[in-house]
């Protein structure tokens, strides 16, 4: 857990957030956060003194065994849950004090069933500022076009007018990814966004997401079970232990961008995947908090 200190600050991309402190402060600082669900008999400790810094513009992949608290971390950062202990800072201030634009794709698609796919994707534009101001004027023009352009990118161009129940699980998931991206968020929280997709669609969407990140430089926290995915997309891979989750490995990934499928055949890419695989395997077996032997990286 010393890696955080060693990391050099990544320069803030233009237009992300204005305050000068964003240059020195990480966008998100999670400090010794614990979270317990339920009470008494049914108490489950999901996180135990977890710490993680995410600099502005970074792309972090969060991997770990099922049930270790990955979704919980995303929900804390999105302010859907408050930690039982510990602190979360956004641009150096207590979470909630600073308003940043968040785009979140949940583990389930969670599309609103009474809205068409297009209206679902446009929802963030209707709710969050500054888009909300022009909602009435632009909802049938610019915003609509923007939603439809995104849908086309993920292969859903003919389905804008459909309702969620008319789409397959993987199609719904892609629509929910569009909803997370449509308002060009500063912080993207993606919870297994490609989980329900086949290998080929998934790899296509990796490139969509990579292109988008290179263009807009949002800060990304991506939860995934697919190690190739994490190594392909992220600047940093963070491995969590079994529940209660804490961070046991924090690994930089420095392949040049744009990465392509060719990258995944490189020997060092394959080697990285093997190493991560065995780390997670050990984390599963060893249980909470144990730092596997090979984690000195």
């Amino acid at each position: 857990m010393t890696m955080a200190a060693e990391r050099t600050a990544i320069p803030s991309p233009p237009g992300a957030i204005a305050p000068t402190e964003s240059l020195s402060r990480p966008l998100i600082q999670i400090e010794d956060v614990s979270l317990t669900y339920g009470r008494g008999e049914r108490e489950v400790q999901a996180l135990s003194r977890t710490s993680l810094d995410v600099p502005n513009g970074d792309f972090v992949a969060l991997v770990g065994p099922s049930g270790c608290g990955k979704s919980t971390i995303l929900k804390i950062v999105a302010q859907l849950l408050s930690p039982s202990e510990g602190h979360v800072f956004v641009v150096g201030r207590e979470i909630g004090a600073v308003a940043i634009r968040i785009g979140m794709a949940f583990q389930n698609p969670t599309l609103l069933p009474w809205l068409s796919i297009r209206d679902n994707v446009m929802l963030p534009l209707k709710i969050s500022q500054p888009f909300r101001r022009d909602w009435r004027r632009k909802k049938n023009g610019e915003y609509r076009d923007r939603a439809e352009a995104l849908l086309a990118k993920v292969g859903l161009s003919g389905f804008a007018g459909h309702y969620p129940w008319q789409l397959s699980g993987g199609m719904q998931q892609r629509a929910s990814l569009c909803r997370a991206l449509v308002h060009e968020p500063t912080l993207l929280l993606l919870d297994e966004p490609f989980g329900a997709l086949d290998q080929f669609t998934r790899e296509e969407l990796w490139d969509v997401l990579q292109a988008l990140w290179m263009e807009q430089k949002p800060t990304v926290l991506l939860v995934t079970h697919d190690l190739r995915e994490s190594a392909y997309l992220a600047n940093r891979i963070v491995v969590m232990s079994a529940r209660p989750g804490r961070i046991i490995v924090d690994e930089r990934v420095d392949y040049a961008r744009p990465r392509s499928i060719e990258t995944t055949f490189r020997p060092d890419f394959v080697e990285l995947n093997h190493r991560l695989r065995s780390l997670i395997f050990e984390a599963r077996a060893a249980g909470p908090g144990a730092v596997p032997a090979g984690a000195a990286a």
């Binding site: 999105a78 968040i102 969670t110 609103l112 929802l123 709710i127 969050s128």
Partner: protein
């Protein structure tokens, strides 16, 4: 409904009246006991000019009472459904109140407001409030927290969440309750008219039966049936248009 099914139900209705007609003839049933459908129809046509004001009166009290009842019901339902706690606290009282036979309040209304239109409207109000309150509150209180989370990550206010998730989500429940409420409002106003009215179909039927004008009494019944079915169909059609998305999955609670 498939075409054959639609044909079958039409045939069943026609058959019902045919059997009624033929049975009356075959067993020589007097029109003082059970008039034949054809006699009722004749009476309806003959007395139509006199029946129209009563029909209008009943329809008027029903719709006014229904509209007020729905308005009040939506507001109370929104308050109760606004939080899980309010819902859990208020629900037992709600169930208790809604299981009182609402017609029992008619004498009280007569006591307070005298005979006439007012008790009929009020009875319709009271009777149509409950299904609406129960359904709106249930629809709001059972909203999936995941759907609210979607809005919360966008820093939506409570009002935003209510208008973009809560209310649309409660719509199928609301419209299901409208169908029930409009039929009940009808029952309410007719009973009030019967007990303490000076106009309306209920009152007209009471007078006709006192005069042993049985065909006219039945004619009143036919008018009530026609209005009841008509109102139900109108609201069922609106429901289908507005909440088509829910027909695939949601099971609706009934008030």
């Amino acid at each position: 409904m498939k075409n054959t099914e639609r044909f079958a139900s039409t045939a069943l209705i026609v058959g019902f009246f045919l059997v009624w007609e033929l049975a009356c003839i075959a067993f020589g049933i007097s029109e003082i006991v059970l008039p034949r459908p054809s006699q009722i129809l004749m009476t309806l046509i003959e007395r139509w000019p006199a029946l129209v004001p009563h029909t209008v009166q009943t329809l008027y009290t029903t719709l006014v009472g229904f509209a007020l009842g729905v308005g009040i019901g939506v507001v109370i339902g929104m308050i109760i459904g606004s939080s899980r706690v309010a819902y859990n606290v208020a629900f037992p009282l709600l169930v208790g109140l809604s299981s009182i036979p609402k017609v029992a309040v008619v004498p009280i209304f007569v006591l307070w407001f005298g005979a006439g239109t007012v008790p009929a409207v009020l009875t319709a109000v009271v009777i149509s409030i409950f299904p609406v309150v129960v359904n709106v509150a249930t629809g709001l209180a059972t909203t999936e927290p995941e759907l609210e989370d979607v809005l919360r990550t966008l820093r939506a206010s409570r009002t935003d969440i209510l208008f973009n998730v809560g209310l649309p989500r409660a719509m199928p429940y609301f419209f299901a309750s409208l169908k029930v409420a409009v039929t009940l409002a009808f029952v309410g106003s007719v009973i009030a008219e019967t007990v303490a009215g000076n106009r309306g179909i209920g009152n007209m039927m009471l007078i006709a039966s006192a005069n042993f004008n049985v065909p006219l009494t039945f004619a009143g019944l036919f008018i009530l049936a026609a209005m009841g079915i008509g109102l139900y169909l109108i609201f069922a059609a609106i429901e289908k248009r507005v909440t088509g998305w829910a027909n695939r999955k949601a099971e609706l609670a009934m008030g």
